[in-house]
């Protein structure tokens, strides 16, 4: 499997980035990403995920008002409203999200398949993004622990934020998800980490499960 001439031209500058190459671009093309949530951060993330070459984007916002626009804006990605029987390879979730309020993880699809029956954290690479007073953040979790509840501990997500901040957070979330999908980072595996934006600065934290959380024991 290889990229077409048109794809090589389209993604040429991204392909040249260290560690991406044809292999990374092919992983993006094969990826099926569920985008759970709605709003300006979701719109920004959708745009950047499509522009990066993610092959299939499932928009799970209840209405999919941005899907048609995204499809028209970028003919390189397939954008559809999420269906209950579709299984995603990666997940980007906008906080606050009702599923996370009920459980430590957001389901990778509406009806998990037999290959995703493992418990204890996230079965697929997952990124959560939120806005909060004066900033916001992104949690990127490679498949496995910690669960999203641990990854977003202490977050007080606020739906309202400035348009420029929404754009930055959506773009940052999309970038983290593409890195997870391509498997980039230290040792060719993008690390689970949290990026907190406050006062125009980004602080990075490695992510780990809380000792008292069910995900630490794989028992969520």
């Amino acid at each position: 499997m290889s990229l077409s001439d048109a794809e090589v031209e389209r993604y040429s500058r991204q392909i040249l980035l260290p560690g991406v190459g044809e292999e990374g671009q092919l992983r993006l093309r094969a990826a099926r990403v569920r985008l759970a949530g709605r709003g300006p951060r979701a719109d920004a993330a959708l745009l950047y995920l499509a522009s990066a070459g993610v092959g299939t984007l499932w928009v799970d916002d209840g209405e999919s008002p941005g899907a048609a626009a995204a499809r028209a804006a970028n003919r390189w990605s397939r954008v559809d409203a999420c269906r209950p029987d579709w299984q995603a390879d990666a997940l980007l979730v906008l906080l606050p999200h009702p599923e996370l309020a009920q459980a430590p993880t957001v389901r990778p699809a509406m009806a998990p398949g037999p290959d995703l029956e493992r418990v204890g954290g996230n079965a697929i690479p997952t990124v959560a993004v939120w806005a909060s007073a004066g900033g916001g953040g992104v949690a990127a979790v490679a498949a496995g622990v910690p669960c999203l509840r641990c990854a977003t501990e202490g977050v007080e997500a606020d739906a309202a934020s400035a348009p420029a901040l929404d754009l930055a957070l959506g773009a940052l979330a999309a970038l983290e998800l593409t890195l997870l999908v391509m498997g980039l980072g230290e040792g060719r595996r993008h690390p689970s980490r949290r990026l907190d934006l406050q006062g125009g600065a980004i602080r990075l934290h490695p992510l780990a499960p809380r000792p008292d959380c069910c995900c630490a024991a794989g028992a969520c």
């Binding site: 990229l3 090589v8 500058r13 392909i15 040249l16 190459g21 044809e22 292999e23």
Partner: protein, 78 residues
């Protein structure tokens, strides 16, 4: 058998994009022959390849391929 690409009809950055894709398909130590046009591509290609960790084995004009044609041999890095 040595791999070979002809990028004389391409402009930057596609010259190095095609070279990078061809190098990615080789194993470390294997050699890629690149036919490149003199001028900016000939100046940029070996430098960028070296910056990416590949080894420039040689560069020489090849009049038999047409005026301004050069052959650059690159050894894929680790």
């Amino acid at each position: 058998m040595m791999s070979r690409i002809d990028i004389r009809s391409l402009a930057c950055p596609m010259t190095y994009v095609r070279t990078r894709l061809a190098l990615d398909r080789l194993a470390p130590g294997e050699v890629l022959e690149v036919l490149v046009a003199e001028g900016e591509p000939l100046e940029n290609l070996p430098r960028t390849a070296a910056e990416d960790g590949h080894r420039v084995l040689s560069r020489e004009p090849v009049p038999s391929e047409g005026a301004g044609s050069w052959r650059v041999l690159l050894e894929r890095g680790p």
